[in-house]
Assembly symmetry: C2
Homo-oligomer: 168 residues x 2
DNA sequence: CTTGGAATGTCAACAAGGCTGACGTATCTT
DNA sequence: AAGATACGTCAGCCTTGTTGACATTCCAAG
């Protein structure tokens, strides 16, 4: 694209230069490594992976969610999700209940054991997030959230916003 | 950890509640999907994946970098990287030159074809970043960067900072 | 000059976690 | 009664990560 992003209005939009954008891209890449590092370490021992973490997280967030809901949020195929879900159910971390109204649906819940793992994982992840937030301060955090939301795909953003203000 | 983050100083640090942290975590998760979506789409056609993108990106960033450097930055094993690198060299996107001083080392460069693919990928990724930055504004962008840097692992942050201010 | 260690490459085997395609079953909707 | 929907499952494939073992090449220290 443009070598440097020359603005329309004559004002130098320095934060939109390719150079600045590259720094943002690399920051995103490296930060995501940190973001997943702690849960990954915990899961490594337990024969689970990131996929299990994601499933557990969103089941915790929305107890009773259906498989289809989860598919949409995670953005994977049902075969992929099913593999993960099956082991979680077998291991007694997730319970799958047949729907009341619509018996085709399965509603997913964490068992006490599942909830315990969820807490362990999210404690670790939250702790890093807390440190980062504390170091950066509230204004930075607001900006952080703004940029992230603007980076999402349209459809994903809708899902995010639907979740955003629901309490766990 | 704490149900809600009760501050030490008596001041309500609202942005550090578990609830706020959870939103940040989910924002990070969904945003990263958007972050990689465009390059992934481009690469899907070409029988390459994210791993190739990362290698190409950092070779472009630091032409002549050694395999060991790249390993440290990417955080994968040499076997993993080697597989990716081999296909890129075979396909004529990357050139691997034996080191002048230390002939054990291989210095990596993009060929014109490699540079072309790099440009295609980073144009797409930068474009999304540009849109997000533009939508959020310069103050938000500064905050975004601050939080991301605070989220990195110590060792990674050092590498990031070393790269950060080098021009491509 | 020899030798230890570093940097690199390569082979083999394996696992996680994506994907597609096909099929089956139960259930709901029309 | 027929079609659509929700879910599960089997089979097979790919990418990308891992470990372990081993060969080569070369630098540098003794």
């Amino acid at each position: 694209m443009a070598e440097t992003s020359v603005p329309q209005g004559g004002q130098a939009l320095l934060f939109l230069t390719d150079e600045q954008l590259r720094k943002g891209i690399e920051a995103m890449f490296f930060a995501y490594r940190g973001f997943t590092a702690d849960p990954d370490r915990i899961l490594a021992d337990k024969a689970y992976g990131r996929a299990h973490h994601r499933a557990i997280h969103f089941i915790h967030r929305s107890p009773g969610t259906t498989v289809n809901n989860l598919l949409a949020i995670l953005g994977v195929t049902k075969q992929s999700l099913n593999r993960v879900l099956r082991t979680l159910v077998e291991d007694g971390l997730v319970e799958s209940r047949v729907g009341r109204n619509d018996k085709r649906e399965r509603h997913l819940f964490l068992t006490p054991e599942g909830a315990a793992l969820e807490r362990e994982l999210s404690d670790a992840q939250r702790e890093r997030m807390r440190m980062a937030y504390r170091a950066a301060g509230p204004v930075a955090v607001a900006g952080f959230r703004q940029v992230l939301e603007a980076m999402m795909d349209e459809e994903i953003r809708r899902q995010y916003e639907a979740l955003r203000d629901k309490s766990a």
